[in-house]
């Protein structure tokens, strides 16, 4: 199948989401329509509270929406139960968080290996893929270190390796450069682009960071729950 006939990785139609705050009903998303093609590097920017994170959480199957339809790689995932959503996240979605969210008792290697373990990848293949991934993010020499012995940039590289090691179709990155200095942030963005391209992953990134948006294929702006 050629890339031109592949369905979009993300296809949201009329997505709405409300939060209850006491007696008040607060709309977070107001009829979102978006289609993100395979391999795209898309940023969503907007002020705090605009609904960026809510959109990413829905796209990453971390949260539910009230109305609309969500197709992930052509499959309707709107009404799946929690177990089915978990299994999709396990195999097809990677996450990069602002605060890295590495497991502190695991070494760098174990953190990167963990998604493959969840996906029941055989041990020999796991080892090979983790070695290759650590090489790509430049942390092969630090594979036995624990996260608390790494710098912020190194931790984010481990997080990127963890997100990409299972070759996901979609990577959700929520403010991945917010805690990094300019040099490190540029390195991390470059790494995400490079590895995203080589693994064929689609990136959906929530960010305020101009350093990030300037390198994206597409930048969409979110304002008051509406995507421009």
């Amino acid at each position: 199948m050629s890339a031109s006939v592949q369905p979009p990785v993300i296809e949201l139609t009329g997505i709405t989401k409300h939060y209850r705050m006491g007696d008040t009903d607060v709309p977070a998303l107001r009829g979102i329509d978006i289609a993100i093609p395979v391999g795209a590097f898309v940023a969503v920017k907007g002020p705090s509270g605009s609904g960026k994170s809510t959109l990413l959480n829905i796209c990453g199957l971390l949260d539910n929406f009230d109305q609309g339809r969500y197709r992930l790689g052509g499959e309707d995932v709107s009404n799946l139960d929690e177990t089915a959503r978990t299994l999709i996240r396990r195999r097809r979605i990677g996450f990069v968080f602002q605060s890295y969210n590495l497991v502190p008792v695991m070494t760098v290697r174990e953190n990167v290996e963990y998604p493959l373990l969840l996906a029941d990848v055989p041990a020999a293949e796991r080892r090979m893929r983790v070695d290759a991934m650590l090489e790509q993010v430049g942390l092969a020499q630090m594979s036995e270190r624990r996260p608390d012995h790494l710098s912020g940039g190194q931790r984010q590289r481990v997080a990127i390796a963890r997100a990409l090691v299972k070759s996901p179709t979609l990577v959700i990155a929520d403010e991945p450069t917010a805690n990094l200095d300019t040099v490190t942030a540029n390195q991390v963005v470059a790494l995400m682009r490079e590895l995203g391209a080589s693994h064929g992953a689609t990136f959906l990134i929530a960010t305020h960071d101009e350093r990030m948006t300037s390198r994206c294929d597409e930048v969409r702006t979110m304002t008051d729950g509406v995507l421009q």
């Binding site: 990453g60 929690e82 978990t86 396990r90 195999r91 996450f95 968080f97 969840l118």
Partner: protein, 404 residues
């Protein structure tokens, strides 16, 4: 990647807190094992004492245990020699001892007291039971006792009669032929059973002396000693089948205090065990509840990566079981050392109510008790972990990821 290694590293995240919890589990385990071991030792000691005193089985006239006698030995065994010969052919039976229970008055000429006596085969009793009485004064049963009119007196009875070894006393009793008989006896020794109420009335005489006093050839019962106490139940069944004309009672029906003490100790130590395991349960639960709160964000991350709630719970259960395992391991060691120390130090317990002598504080190291206690405590720790992590594993992922 080894799940248990990760679980252990999680346990070690907050070393001080985990160490305190492991120590509480260890002390709890040791307390359960020592208390349980003491109860087991007591049951075993009481069982052995009862079997030693009464014989593993007692064979008697069919009405002996169920009806009161109108005259002495009305329900005695006349054919005891034949019965003994038949029983001694059974190779599981170590020894059969005839016993004659009698009572009456004992007098020093100035003062008379009621006594409760037992006529025994002196050498046989010593061979079957060992030294079963504490000798206070005189000799227990010297050579040539058989047939000689010599008796042993309980300490308090001797004191009441101002009797000493060598003193002459008179035994008076109702005979089996509707009359009274009296014989002069010499005090061979003064003994103590450890129970003042018994020592106040106790007289031991040779079987022939007792039979001479009661003018009879009968005995009251035959005490049957087996090679092993465990054989009591099957031999009871066997003897009831082979001696349908007689009554047969096992030691536990005669030793009423055995079941009473066992029932009391089961309640006391059972309650103690419940309290201790509850403390361990809440301690482990509290430690893991704190760990769950601290790791809420990590739980959210793992859920985002595709870990199922049940797998999150399983990880905490492994951590709980490891805390329980480490605690019980140290607890078993502590209990083992305590058992060894008690064995070497010979610590004495004070006399129980109604007794005048203490007994050694010993603890049985029962593999079954160790296995059950360990499994129960590890299981409880795992259940505590399950309870505290279940809710957190179901928390919405977005909420968990936002936890500070």
């Amino acid at each position: 990647m080894n799940n248990l290694r990760i679980a252990w590293q999680n346990v070690l995240r907050n070393r001080r807190r985990s160490l305190v919890t492991i120590l509480i589990t260890a002390v709890g385990t040791a307390a359960v094992l020592v208390a349980g071991g003491f109860a087991l030792y007591t049951y075993e000691a009481l069982r052995d004492a009862a079997a030693r005193d009464f014989g593993h089985l007692t064979l008697a006239h069919k009405d002996y245990f169920s009806r009161d006698e109108d005259t002495p030995l009305q329900y005695g065994l006349a054919d005891h020699a034949k019965l003994m010969a038949a029983l001694e052919k059974e190779n599981r039976i170590r020894r059969v001892l005839p016993r004659l229970a009698f009572s009456g008055l004992i007098s020093n000429g100035d003062k008379s007291m009621i006594y409760v006596g037992q006529g025994v085969d002196v050498r046989g009793e010593l061979a079957a039971r060992g030294v079963f009485l504490k000798l206070v004064e005189g000799v227990l049963f010297g050579n040539n006792d058989e047939g000689s009119p010599r008796v042993l007196l309980g300490r308090d009875l001797a004191k009441s009669l101002s009797a000493k070894p060598g003193s002459s006393l008179t035994l008076l009793s109702t005979t089996t032929v509707d009359g009274l008989n009296a014989i002069d006896v010499e005090v061979a020794g003064i003994v103590s059973t450890g129970v003042p109420e018994v020592d106040k009335r106790l007289v031991y005489a040779a079987l022939s002396t007792a039979q001479h006093l009661l003018v009879t050839d009968k005995v009251s019962t035959l005490a049957v000693y087996l090679d092993d106490t465990e054989l009591t139940a099957p031999m009871l069944e066997e003897m009831q089948r082979t001696h349908p004309g007689n009554a047969v009672q096992p030691w536990w029906e005669q030793a009423f205090y055995y079941e009473s003490v066992r029932g009391l100790y089961n309640r006391i130590f059972g309650l103690l065990g419940i309290i201790i395991t509850a403390l361990v349960f809440f301690s482990v639960g509290n430690t893991l509840a704190m760990a769950v709160v601290e790791r809420t964000r990590e739980i959210g991350t793992l859920r985002a990566l595709g870990v199922l709630p049940a797998e999150i719970v399983a990880q905490f259960v492994r951590e709980g079981a490891l805390i329980g395992g480490a605690g019980t391991l140290i607890g078993m060691l502590l209990a083992g050392l305590t058992t060894l120390a008690l064995l070497l130090l010979d610590v004495q317990m004070p006399p129980p109510p109604g007794r005048s002598e203490g007994y050694p504080l010993m603890v049985n190291a029962s593999p079954t008790l160790y296995a059950i206690a360990t499994l129960v405590i590890i299981l409880l720790c795992a259940v505590a972990a399950w309870l505290v992590s279940r809710k957190a594993s179901q928390k919405p992922i977005v909420e968990a990821l936002g936890h500070v």
